[in-house]
Every structure is written in structure tokens, then in C-alpha cells.
């Protein structure tokens, strides 16, 4: 009898349920390793550097940065868009892949979503710190006041405020709802009273009853339905900051889809960067398998190719428009004083991901890790190229200037990286990095387990 080739199992190592629980909860138990301490010291120091830079910026002013009369945004908005982009993978994985019934997502959605939240927090920092008068930043909220002052709903920056906060809230709720069954598990496994009490509180009295499960699944599906359009809308709105302006190189209608695919592209790259390390460090290779990595690499090829086509389309449209300012903006990108940034972007974003067409490369962990770093760098430069090279030479040549970052700007960027990794390191200590309940649901969905059962 013909037996069709069986699918690779999603979880390797013929685990039973109790083993899964044990494996996944292992990183939370006991004392952290010395690598963890080293990691958090490094990340914490970076965060302190950022705190110093924040103080300098607020106390002395934006003048501590390298901006000038022509270039009003540079690293600040570059970092903002970069972080928002990174924040796209988590929700994409948990919401859109949930809707598409991609069950392999269960191994990675928890950490990817956590990463999303941290990235959005880091992203949200930049629009705040870039304000000249941060202490009056609350003006941006449409609150009732006796002076009849109201915000300007025509401003894409205001749309950002709503887009980012909505995304942060929905992602946070979605993530937390997903956590509840696992928090129940953590509570049940807890051996000390305080721990039990805390996780008991956090798990909202989860008992695992059929009714709980039913409600949980329904809420998850509704939230997934809510979150899915947000994945597309957030970066669309971020791209409006540029697309609705009049600056050549910003004023581009292709920006919304281009930004969204770029965001998913960079988000997946960051997930890969983190998980390739984490699966090793936390002994979760059976859960986050090469199959997962390969799937993510496939998403990277797709989105990377979309981004590449977008880059080329921009050039075509600049020529096709016949607008001299527009043409110059793009020629200047590729050949002007910041051409190096442009070519870093092109190499990292368009060329390197194409290597994933080779199965050998996309299933190779080291290669994947290196390319994911390349993509992270490339996507940062993409935003830098858009923000800075468009601004530094716009309409009137008399106002053309150059931009160079200062130590304070570097500090703010490194600071957010520090905060991001600090939070991630804390996350792996306090929450299960893999959705235990969801992984259990795919334990026997495919693969050897099922086959073995059948033949027994």
C-alpha cells in the first residue's frame, strides 16, 4: 500500500505533554545562568547610556543632536520606523498566520509577540524624545480644555499617535490573553507560595475548564481578526508621515505597501536573530526547529523581494514623472554623498535575502543568523536613506546641508536596544517563551507521533 510521504513533525523528539511543560518551563526555573547575567548587565548598561542621552536631550535640547535647519529628522525617526517595523513580526505571526491556520506559528508566536511589544515601546520612545518640548508633549492628545485647543487631525503625526497606541494596546491584550492558560500552568507548577500567588493573580483564575477554553479561543480569534488589519494599517500610517509630504523622495504613493512588507521583512529578521540564539540557550531546539527557521526565511524572501521591487519602482516612477526634483532625489540617493548608505541598504535588503532561494542556506542556522543581521542593518539604512537623503537635498540648493549623528543620538539608539534586550531577558525569566498550550495542540497534529500511533 502506498504511504504518502509524511510531513515533518512540528515538534521533534517524540515528547509527551508533561515533557513539553517541563521543557518550556525549564528556563524560568532555578537561578539564571551566568550568560543571562552577562547579557542583562550589557543590556542594562546600554539602557543607562540611553538614559544619559535622554537627559542630555531633554535638558540641553535637540541641539545635542546633529540636526540642522534643513534636516529636521534623522536618527530619531529612522529608529522610530525601524522599531515599528520590527514590531510587525509578532502580530503578523500570531494574527495573520492564525487566520491562515499556519500551525507552525505556535512555537514562535509567544516570543515574537513579546518582541513586538518591546519593539513598539522602543519605537514609541522616539516620537516623544524627538519633540523639542517633550514636557508639553501631551498637547498631542485631543483632551478637552478650557482654551478650546484641539489637535490637527490633518497631520499624519497625529495619525501615528493613534495608530501606535492602538497597535500597542491590541497587541498587548492579544499577547496577554494567549498567556493566560500558560500562566495557569506556571501557577500549578509553582513550588513556592509567593510565586503561586503572583501567577495565580496573573492567570485570572484559569482552571482549564471547557468553558474557559471555549471563551479563550473565541476571544483569541476575535482579537486575531482585530489585530490582522492593524498589522497592515500601522506601517501604512507611519508611511503617511512621508507619503503625504511634499519632499521629493518622501512624496511617494508606493510607500504604504512598501513599508508594510519592509516591516514584516525586518520583523522576521529580528525574530530570527533572537530565536536562533534563544533556542540554543534555552534548549528549545525541539520546539523551534529548522523547519520553523526555514518557514520564516521563506517569508523573508517574499517580503525582501517586494521591498526590492519597490526600490526599483521608485526609480522608475521618478524618471517617469519627469519631475526634476524627484529625479534628482533618487539620483542623489544612489550617487550623492549618502550613496554609501543607499548601497548598504541595497546589498543588505535586496541581494543577501535572495540567498535564501538555496535550501542549503535557508536551513543553515549560521547563514540565517548572519543574513538576519544583514537585514536588520539594511532595514535601518532603508529608513535612514528615506529620512536623511531626501531631506538633505530638497528643492532649494541654497539650503542643502549634510548630517552627522552625535554621541547623544547614538546613545538614544543604543539605549533602546538596551531596553529591548533587557526586557527580552526579563521576559524569558518570567513568562514561558513558547505557548505551552498551543504547542501541545500541534504535538500530534503531524509527523511521527501520529504515524506511530496508527501502526501500533
Amino acid at each position: 500500500m502506498y504511504v504518502s510521504p509524511i510531513r515533518e513533525p512540528l515538534i521533534k523528539g517524540s515528547k509527551d505533554y508533561s515533557q513539553v511543560t517541563k521543557d518550556i518551563l525549564a528556563p524560568m526555573a532555578g537561578k539564571p545562568s551566568k550568560y543571562w547575567y552577562m547579557g542583562i548587565t550589557l543590556a542594562g548598561s546600554a539602557a543607562l547610556f540611553g538614559a544619559w542621552a535622554t537627559f542630555m536631550t531633554v535638558y540641553y535640547g535637540i541641539g545635542t543632536w546633529g540636526l540642522n535647519k534643513t534636516i529636521g529628522w534623522a536618527w530619531d525617526i529612522t529608529n522610530f520606523v525601524w522599531w515599528v517595523g520590527i514590531g510587525h513580526a509578532g502580530t503578523f505571526i500570531s494574527a495573520i498566520l492564525l487566520l491562515f491556520r499556519q500551525r507552525w506559528r505556535t512555537s514562535i508566536n509567544r516570543s515574537a509577540e513579546a518582541m513586538t511589544l518591546m519593539a513598539i515601546a522602543c519605537a514609541g520612545f522616539f516620537p516623544l524624545i524627538h519633540m523639542g518640548r517633550l514636557l508639553l508633549g501631551f498637547f498631542i492628545l485631543p483632551y478637552p480644555n478650557t482654551r478650546d485647543l484641539w489637535v490637527n487631525f490633518n497631520s499624519p503625526l497625529l495619525w501615528d499617535v493613534f495608530a501606535i497606541t492602538t497597535y500597542l494596546l491590541v497587541s498587548l491584550i492579544f499577547w496577554y490573553i494567549g498567556l493566560i492558560p500558560d500562566l495557569g500552568t506556571v501557577r500549578d507548577k509553582a513550588t513556592n507560595k509567593i510565586r503561586k500567588a503572583i501567577y495565580g493573580f496573573l492567570s485570572f483564575g484559569w482552571t482549564g475548564s471547557a468553558r474557559h477554553w471555549s471563551r479563550h479561543e473565541t476571544v483569541s480569534l476575535i482579537l486575531a481578526g482585530l489585530a490582522a488589519p492593524l498589522v497592515l494599517s500601522v506601517h501604512t500610517i507611519v508611511s503617511f508621515d512621508f507619503a503625504t509630504s511634499v519632499i521629493p523622495g518622501w512624496h511617494t504613493t508606493i510607500f504604504p505597501p512598501y513599508f508594510v512588507s519592509g516591516a514584516v521583512f525586518s520583523g522576521f529578521a529580528m525574530v530570527l536573530t533572537l530565536l536562533i540564539v534563544a533556542r540554543k540557550a534555552l534548549n528549545l531546539e525541539d520546539y523551534i526547529t529548522v523547519g520553523h527557521i526555514e518557514n520564516m526565511n521563506k517569508v523573508i524572501i517574499i517580503t525582501g523581494s517586494i521591498v526590492g521591487i519597490a526600490y526599483i519602482t521608485e526609480f522608475f516612477i521618478a524618471w517617469y514623472s519627469g519631475v526634476e526634483y524627484e529625479m534628482y532625489a533618487f539620483i542623489n540617493r544612489a550617487t550623492g554623498p549618502y550613496a554609501w548608505a543607499y548601497w548598504i541598504m541595497m546589498t543588505c535588503n535586496v541581494i543577501t535575502p535572495q540567498l535564501f532561494w538555496f535550501k542549503k542556506i535557508r536551513t543553515n542556522l549560521v547563514a540565517t543568523f548572519i543574513i538576519s543581521i544583514f537585514v536588520n542593518i539594511g532595514m535601518w539604512f532603508e529608513r535612514f536613506v528615506i529620512v536623511v537623503t531626501s531631506l538633505h537635498r530638497d528643492y532649494l540648493p541654497s539650503s542643502w546641508t549634510m548630517y552627522k549623528p552625535t554621541i547623544v543620538e547614538v546613545g538614544l539608539y543604543v539605549g533602546t536596544l538596551g531596553v529591548f534586550f533587557t526586557l527580552f531577558l526579563l521576559f524569558i525569566r518570567v513568562f514561558p517563551v513558547i505557548a505551552i498550550a498551543e504547542v501541545k495542540s500541534v504535538l500530534k497534529a503531524t509527523g511521527e507521533n501520529k504515524k506511530d500511533h496508527h501502526h501500533e
Partner: protein, 993 residues
């Protein structure tokens, strides 16, 4: 009995049935029970809580409350006549600093002069100003002013100073030593009278006129040619062909404001004018005037004499006189001579050189062309720059020989700007008594025994006769801030006359000038009228007959015979429109003013031609040493003559304080001399590049238009054929101008501004005027290097064509007040909005500083307060004020009508909205409509070239509407559909294609 309140009948019933049947009420009972319990809780608990709470909060508030600053507002006990708090008064006055003259109005608010405006009643300056005149109000509040009389640096009283000085002067007089009054050209008749009084009181008194930027070569030449040393009155407005040999008459030569006013008369093609003068300019270094010329010819300064001689010989030939045997003239010169002959009596040849020989040649050129009496008036003479160099040279010799017993220095600074300053300093040691009557502490007043500080001109009475018969008055606009005394009063006092200078001037005018005007019955009414107007034009003419003789020039021609033009590297030393001779170097506005040619500020530098730089392998900003004496950064200057270098004078001040100290290098010691006259170029300099570089702060770093149609120009021929010439893109843009949205209409006013680029010379007066009017912060060199200058108006300068000989075009750019403004819709907090009169407004208080508007402004006119430049920030200790503009003294110059901007907010041109508002209120109180031209923004007011016109676009008869209707009018980046309220008129050059 306790009162019982109930909310419903049910409640009341339950309450009454409570005892009977507790269970019948069921759950409801318990709820209501609990409710009632809450209601009937002892009320004292809540009140006690509130009491305790209130007490805690109140005591916490009292204990921790911040100390409130005490602000005193003291009303006038007796209201001074004519002063309304919050309303500005204007006083006519005269700015004269020894170099520049300008008749001005001083704007005074609450007892403080805050702004200088041109006085349109003067027919010399006609309401125009230059950058230094505009900036002079800030000198009044200079931190480095002498605050008290002093002796050897320590403060003394005026009485002590007077007694000691008089004793010393008497001693000098009695010991037959000279008493020298050293001053810049005195144009004040009353001051001259006071000096004469002093001279008659003390035997041996001599007046030595010392000008840092002299015209002694011309004086000498005119003495040789006409028998009288004088500077004639030039009439650029009467000339159809202007030929200038290195005379920067729009920037620094003799009387630039006057000449700008005259020059533009024949340069503006508006209101039906179709005639334009032609301006041909010969120069080595690129100057403001040269860059405005129709034709600019590069000529090395050491070759100028020969070229002038060749031109003269060509002219002589063409007019049929004998010619000396000079080398063959170039075709340019032949062509020029022919051209000049066609414009006999309608041409004007001027020469900026301080060489007597060159001026002699120019004199004969003008003589042959019949320009004397036509474009050059000899019966009206300019009274400034009367200093003769050899007199100063003799003085220095006499000082060193110990022949000078007393030296009274009246606001000149020879220890800085005299080329042999060291010799002067040595001589000063041998002078019996030296006193400086200088206003601001400087190199000279640091070396004199006594300092008897003079008033700043805004604190003093004075008069002036800038040209024959053109009188003007100065009056104090503020009580003296420091313990100073008018220099003239000091002289009068020492000569035994105790009258104050005001009475002295008045007496002088009564005696000498009242008779010239018979339209007044009494002197008092005459005086009041003239004081009000600031000027008095008596119509007096010089009576000394001038007759031309060619003897001297023939000698010059003879000496040139057989000579060739040497091939050497020449260095030109010039004064720029900012700090000028250096007298105003301590003025932050002027230091931060970008040079109209190089766009550099806060330094002087060596301008070097691209060709020479390439040959010597010198890169931009590389340090170079000239003649082993002065090391400065090089700036590669397109259009500079191949082997001509140029360095600005006026930098490298010492003993002056912030900000002038240490800015640039003093180039005065480099000055050479020719036949006793200071020469503003030296031939054959040695240039040695250093291995290091030095950053020069420039407000513009890209100099090509990149082929963009931002600055549209045409030639006169093309314009006359088709007035739309060069402006075709405007009509195309108009054709394509469509919008989905309804056109925005403005009821009432729609403010607009038109800029005639043919008139604009790029002199930068508007930039200073704007800074002064709008409290624009000065940010210092480091911030300018970081491209963060704050100017609300800038003058873009572009080169076009060959880098070695480019055309220069300029364009003033300020906020364009777009009716479809890209900045307005991107501000998240609506801090920048459009007024119903078409003005793009900034609400500083609302701005949170996202800089989105600045990014989205295609004109890049929005300025961000990157740091706390003004001291308006709420944090202490973070102020960024390297130029000391925020000291209590300097702050007195701030315009109270304009908010000081804090760190972190955007600012930009407001069309001087405070002036609009002021005039609207005036019109309203007078119950009439606003008149066209009544509202004049600061930039337009300052502009000597009348290049900026402001008004109501809804009024089709307004001047600005007429400009907008001109075929030359276009809008900057109109194809972006920003709908700017600023229009530009195309530049038209009078040249053949």
C-alpha cells in the same frame, strides 16, 4: 429626632416593615440596608477626613511651594508728555560712525531705542539703510562700553578727569608742544566749531583726521586735477553707463546707501519703465557690487593703473588728442572706450583705488566724457573720508619725536586699524597726555592714560553736513546709560565753555543755518521742524571754482610708458558689509551676518581663485600664510581673478570682549602704501599653504542652481521684445494650476510681498533689520557651522556658468506664506495655521517642536531653536549664548512686541505681523481704511534698493498687486502648488546675448 430621608416609597416601606419581616424583603433588603448604612454613617467621619485631607494638602502646599519671583510694575508718578506705554515713538537722528552716514529714525519703546529705520525725508539716503546702520542700535547696549571715565584703567570722576586733563593740556600748550585732536572725518559743523573753540583756547592745537578706510588718493588726485582736495557728489541715477574700477559703491565705497538709492533708479523695470543702465565692473576680488554688474571683468589690482591708462589713451585717441605711447590696449578696453564715447555726459567712471595716480586717470576719463557737471557734481561735495594719510604718518613721526604734548582721540582706534600700529603705540608712550573719548573699549583706549567715554550716538546731540548743504541732526533717544559725556562737551569744557552741546548746536544753527530757510518766523519753529525731520537741506553749493588741469595725469601717463603688467599674486584688502572696518566687530548681528559673496560669517579668510588653488594645491578651508605674517583659512571663490587674493579687514580685534575677540585675524598690518596713501592691495605676496585646516562657518554650502528654474532671469533685449522672457515656466504653471478643492478666498486683506530681484543688490540690510525687529537669536560660530543660523530672511546666492568667471544671482528668501502651506497641515498640534488675511502664523506657545513643518517646507525657511539661545527656557543652566546676547544690557534691544522663543520651538518670518496689527489699529482709531504702503515690514523698510514691496493683494491698485500683475512676476516653486504669497520679479541683465 433625627431626620430620615428616603429616595422612594419602596425604601420607606421596607424601612418601616424592617422589624416585622426581614426576610420578606429578600436580597433587596441587604443591599438597601448597606446603602442606608453608608448614608447614615456618622457624617463627622467624612468631614473629619476632608478636614484632615485639606489640612495636609494645604500645609504640604505651603511647606513646599516655590518661591515666586517678585515682579514690580511701577506706574509713572507723573506721566511724561508724549509717552504712551506700549506705543513706540520715533525720533529723527543721524547715524555717522566715521565711515558710513545715514539719516535715520530711532524707534523708542518705553524709553529704550530698539530699532533703527531709514529716514525718507533725507534726499541723501532717502530712507535706505545698510546693515551697519541697522545694527548700530545694538552697539548702544554693548557689554564692552566704557561705563565710567577712567585713568590707567581705574575709575575716576569726571571732575577729576577734567582737572587733570586740563592741567596736562595747559602744560603741553605752555611747553610749546602740540595738542593733537585725532578724529575720523568730522562732518558735524558744530563739532568743527567746538574743535576750533578748543584750538583757539589752547595754542598749538592741531586737528588730524584719521580714517581707517580713507579716500586720500582721490583727495590728492582732485587737488592735482582741480586744485581743491574734495570728494565730488556722484549721480549714479543720471548715468546710463556705469563703469566701475574696483569701486564697491553698493557695499563699502564712500556712500553706499546713497549710491544704492541712485543706482536702482535705472535698474527697476516696473510701472512701465523700460530703460535700464548698463553696469560694467572691473575688479580682482569678487565684491558685492561686482557680482551685481551686467558685465564683470576680472582685473588684477596691480594691473588696474595700466588698464585705466590704456582706456584713457584710447579715449584721447578717439576724441582726437595726442596719446602717450602705451602698450596696445586689449579689445575689451577698446570696446569700452567706444562704448563710453557713445555715452558722453551720460556715463560715470568710478574707481575704488586709493592710488592718486589711478584717480588722476579716472578724473581725466570723466573729463573727456563730459561727466563733470552731469553725473559728477563738484559744487556739492561729500564731507566724509576727508582724512589724508600723510597727516597721520606725520603725526606718528611727531609723537615718536616727543613733539606731541597731548593727544585727544575721538572715537578712532589707530592701535587696531593703523597699519603701523606698533609705531603708533610707541609714539603714544612719548605723548605727554593721552585721552581716548571712545565709546566702546578697544585697543586704543586700553593704551591711553585717560578714557573719557563719549555717548553712543543714540544718547547724544549732534549735527552733520554729509554733503554740501545737506544737514542733519542727531538727538538723544535715551538718557545716557552709563556715566558718559558727549565728546564735544568735553572739548568745550576743557576750553572753558560750560554750555551743553545741545545749546551749542542750537546756537550754531541759529547763527549759521537759520538764515538759509526763510519759511519759518522764529528760530524755535525752524529748529523744532528740523529736529522733527532730522534733516535740513539748505541748497548751499560750494563756491570754490574747479578747473581741470591735465599736468599731473600726463606725468602719470609718462611714467607708465613702456611699463608692462607684472605677473604677481596680489592681495586685496577690503571691508565687508558686516563688521566693516572693524569698528562694529563687537556687534553679534554683524558678526553673524553672512557675507553677500562668500556667505561666510564669524571669520575672515583668504579668497582665492579656483585656478590658483588648484595650481598651489590648496583646498577649501586649508590654512595659508600670507607674507609670513598672517595665517588664515582659504576659501575658494569662483569669479576671483586668477592671481588675486582677498582678505577682509575688520577682524582680529583685541580688548573688546565677546564676541569680537579672537574672531579672525587683523589684516591691517598688511596694508601697503603708494605715494603716502594707504593702498588697499599689495602686489607680489608670498602664499604658503599650511598642513592644517580651519572650519569657516557658512550659511550656504551649495552654490549651483542645479539647472532648476528657481531664479529666473533674462536680458534687457529679450525682455523688451517679450516681457515674459525667462518667465515662461510661470505661465506654464499658471496654465496647469488646478485643484480639486475650492480656491481659498480672503475677505478683507490678503497680505502679499513682491521682491524685485533686479533691484536687490544682496546688501543684507534686511537680514539685520529682521533680526532687530523680530528678536532673532544670534547663535554663534559653532551653531552656524552646524547649519543652525536663525535668520528669518536669507539671501540665496548662486553661481552660474564657468567656475572661473561665473555669473552671480541672488534671491532673498523668507517664509512664502503659502496659501496652501505644506507646513500647516502636518503640525499635529495646529501650532502653525493660516490667518484669514493669508498669513502663515506660528503659535510659539503651542509648538511642541516636532520639526515636521520645517521638514515639509520646500523653502526651508523655518528655524528651530535647537538650544536655549535666548534664556527663555524653563531649565536653568542650559543656556547657549556664546555671543552674550542675553545679558541684561543686551536684552534692552529686544522688541517687546515680539515674543522671545524658547528652546524647542520653531520660528519663522511672520510678515512682521506686529507691524500689520499696529497699523490696523491706527487706521481703526482714525476710522479709515488702511492705505497702501502704510504697513512696511522691517526688511522692506531697511532695503535701500526698494526691492521689497508689501501690501494687500485684494486691492488691485496696491503696489504689490501691480508687481504681481507684472509679466516678470513668478512664485518660487509654484509648480508644487503651495500658492505662495511672495512673488519674485525676474532678474534682467542689461547685456548682449
Amino acid at each position: 429626632m433625627e431626620k430620615k430621608y428616603f429616595k422612594s416609597i419602596e425604601e420607606l416601606r421596607i424601612d418601616t416593615s424592617r422589624e416585622n419581616d426581614i426576610h420578606a424583603a429578600g436580597d433587596k433588603f441587604y443591599i438597601l440596608d448597606a446603602q442606608r448604612e453608608a448614608l447614615t454613617l456618622p457624617s463627622t467621619t467624612r468631614r473629619d477626613f476632608l478636614k484632615a485631607f485639606g489640612f495636609t494638602i494645604a500645609s504640604a502646599a505651603v511647606a513646599t511651594s516655590c518661591e515666586q519671583p517678585v515682579r514690580k510694575a511701577i506706574p509713572f508718578l507723573i506721566q511724561p508728555e508724549g509717552i504712551i506705554p506700549g506705543k513706540a515713538s520715533y525720533y529723527a537722528s543721524t547715524f555717522y560712525d566715521g565711515i558710513d552716514y545715514c539719516s535715520v529714525l530711532v524707534k523708542v519703546r518705553d524709553g529704550r531705542p530698539i530699532k533703527i529705520e531709514g529716514n525718507s525725508l533725507s534726499s541723501v539716503t532717502k530712507g535706505g539703510t545698510n546693515a551697519r546702520t541697522q545694527a548700530s542700535v545694538l552697539n548702544l547696549y554693548d557689554n564692552a562700553r566704557h561705563k565710567n571715565p577712567s585713568k590707567n584703567g581705574s575709575e575716576i570722576s569726571w571732575e577729576q578727569l577734567d582737572s587733570e586733563v586740563i592741567a596736562k593740556i595747559r602744560e603741553a600748550s605752555s611747553s610749546n608742544k602740540k595738542i593733537v585732536i585725532l578724529t575720523s572725518s568730522v562732518i558735524s559743523p558744530s563739532t568743527n566749531a567746538a574743535i576750533n573753540d578748543f584750538a583757539s583756547a589752547f595754542a598749538g592745537t592741531e586737528l588730524v583726521t584719521y580714517d581707517a578706510f580713507p579716500a586720500s588718493g582721490m583727495l590728492d588726485a582732485n587737488e592735482s586735477s582741480f586744485g581743491v582736495p574734495f570728494i565730488p557728489s556722484y549721480r549714479f541715477d543720471k548715468a546710463d553707463l556705469i563703469v566701475s574700477f574696483d569701486a564697491d559703491f553698493l557695499g563699502s565705497w564712500l556712500s553706499p546707501v546713497e549710491y544704492t538709492k541712485q543706482y536702482i533708479v535705472n535698474r527697476k523695470l516696473v510701472d512701465g519703465q523700460r530703460k535700464m543702465s548698463r553696469h560694467i565692473h572691473f575688479e580682482g576680488a569678487m565684491s558685492l557690487t561686482g557680482s551685481n554688474a551686467d558685465y564683470r571683468v576680472q582685473l588684477r589690482p596691480s594691473h588696474q593703473k595700466m588698464v585705466l591708462a590704456q582706456l584713457l589713451s584710447e579715449l584721447r585717441q578717439q576724441s582726437g588728442s595726442a596719446t602717450p605711447g602705451l602698450g596696445d590696449a586689449s579689445n575689451d578696453v577698446k570696446e569700452l572706450a567706444k562704448n563710453l564715447m557713445q555715452h558722453k555726459g551720460k556715463s560715470l567712471v568710478v574707481c575704488g583705488s586709493n592710488s592718486r595716480d589711478e584717480q588722476l586717470l579716472v578724473n581725466e576719463i570723466n573729463q573727456i566724457l563730459g561727466n563733470y557737471g552731469a553725473t559728477i557734481e563738484t559744487d556739492i561735495q561729500l564731507k566724509t573720508r576727508q582724512g589724508l594719510n600723510h597727516r597721520v604718518t606725520r603725526l606718528v613721526e611727531e609723537m615718536n619725536a616727543g613733539k606731541v604734548g597731548a593727544l585727544i582721540i575721538m572715537d578712532v582706534n589707530p592701535l587696531y586699524d593703523y597699519p603701523q600700529a606698533a609705531q603708533f603705540a610707541q609714539g603714544l608712550q612719548k605723548v605727554g597726555m593721552s585721552i581716548a573719548l571712545n565709546v566702546i573699549s578697544d585697543e586704543t583706549s586700553a593704551a591711553t592714560t585717560f578714557v573719557g567715554p563719549d555717548h553712543h550716538y543714540l544718547e547724544a546731540w549732534n549735527d552733520a553736513e554729509v554733503k554740501t548743504g545737506f544737514y542733519s541732526l542727531s538727538q538723544p533717544a535715551i538718557r545716557p546709560i552709563f556715566n558718559t559725556r558727549s565728546a564735544q562737551e568735553s572739548l568745550l569744557k576743557w576750553s572753558g565753555n560750560n554750555t551743553d552741546f545741545r545749546s551749542y548746536i542750537k546756537a550754531y544753527w541759529q547763527k549759521n543755518l537759520f538764515a538759509a530757510d526763510n519759511s519759518y518766523l522764529s528760530f524755535e519753529s525752524f529748529w523744532n521742524a528740523k529736529l522733527h525731520d532730522g534733516v535740513f537741506e539748505s541748497g548751499r553749493k560750494e563756491t570754490v571754482a574747479v578747473a581741470y588741469t591735465a599736468d599731473a595725469v600726463n606725468k602719470v601717463l609718462a611714467s607708465l610708458a613702456g611699463k608692462t603688467m607684472a605677473d604677481s599674486i596680489d592681495l586685496v584688502l577690503y571691508t565687508n558689509v558686516g563688521v566693516g572696518t572693524g569698528k562694529h566687530a563687537n556687534n553679534p548681528w554683524l558678526q553673524e551676518l553672512p557675507d553677500p559673496v562668500t556667505k561666510a560669517c564669524w571669520d575672515n579668510y583668504v579668497m582665492i581663485s579656483p585656478r590658483l588653488a588648484e595650481e598651489l594645491n590648496i583646498s577649501d578651508e586649508q590654512l595659508v600664510t600670507i607674507n609670513d605674517s598672517i595665517t588664515l583659512p582659504a576659501i575658494i571663490q569662483p569669479g576671483q581673478e586668477y592671481k588675486t587674493l582677498a582678505v577682509a579687514l575688520g577682524y582680529g580685534r583685541q580688548n573688546t570682549g565677546v564676541p569680537a575677540n579672537g574672531v579672525g585675524q587683523n589684516a591691517y598690518p598688511l596694508l601697503g602704501s603708494e605715494a603716502g596713501n594707504i593702498s588697499f592691495y599689495i602686489a607680489g605676496v608670498a602664499l604658503s599653504p599650511q598642513n592644517s585646516s580651519y572650519p569657516v562657518a557658512r550659511t550656504q554650502s551649495h552654490h549651483s542652481l542645479e539647472g532648476r528654474e528657481l531664479l529666473r532671469e533674462t536680458t534687457l533685449e529679450e525682455y523688451l521684445e517679450n516681457p515674459q522672457a525667462g518667465n515662461e515656466a510661470h505661465f506654464e504653471a499658471e496654465h496647469h494650476k488646478k485643484s480639486m478643492y475650492p480656491k481659498v478666498e480672503f475677505d478683507g486683506m490678503h497680505w502679499g510681498m513682491a521682491i524685485d530681484m533686479n533691484a536687490c543688490t544682496g546688501c543684507n540690510a534686511c537680514v539685520v533689520a529682521c533680526s532687530s525687529e523680530n528678536n532673532v537669536p544670534v547663535v554663534g560660530k559653532e551653531q552656524v557651522l552646524a547649519s543652525r543660523e536663525m535668520h528669518w530672511i536669507r539671501i540665496d546666492r548662486y553661481y552660474n556658468g564657468d567656475i572661473n568667471d561665473p555669473e552671480v544671482v541672488r534671491q532673498p528668501v523668507m517664509c512664502q506664506h503659502c496659501d496652501n502651506a505644506p507646513c500647516e497641515n502636518v503640525c499635529p498640534v495646529a501650532a502653525t495655521t493660516h490667518s484669514n488675511e493669508g498669513i502663515n502664523q506660528m503659535a510659539y506657545n503651542r509648538c511642541i517642536g516636532t520639526r515636521y513643518c520645517a521638514n515639509n517646507c520646500p523653502y526651508k525657511v523655518r528655524r528651530f531653536n535647537f538650544l536655549d539661545y535666548t534664556g527663555a527656557d524653563s531649565f536653568k543652566g542650559n543656556r547657549m549664548d556664546p555671543t552674550e546676547m542675553t545679558t541684561d544690557l543686551r536684552r534692552l534691544v529686544l522688541n517687546p512686541d515680539v515674543t522671545i522663543r524658547a528652546k524647542g520651538v520653531i520660528e519663522k518670518c511672520s510678515f512682521c505681523v506686529q507691524r500689520i496689527q499696529e497699523k490696523k489699529l491706527v487706521a481703526k482709531t482714525e476710522n479709515r481704511e488702511l492705505r497702501d504702503g502704510e504697513i512696511v515690514p522691517a526688511c522692506a523698510q531697511a532695503c535701500a534698493a526698494e526691492a521689497i514691496v508689501f501690501g494687500n493683494l485684494n486691492d488691485k491698485n496696491s503696489k504689490v498687486s501691480r508687481y504681481f500683475a507684472s509679466e516678470r512676476n513668478y512664485h518660487l516653486l509654484e509648480e508644487v502648488h503651495t500658492l505662495p504669497s511672495v512673488g519674485y520679479l525676474t532678474k534682467v541683465k542689461n547685456k548682449s546675448v
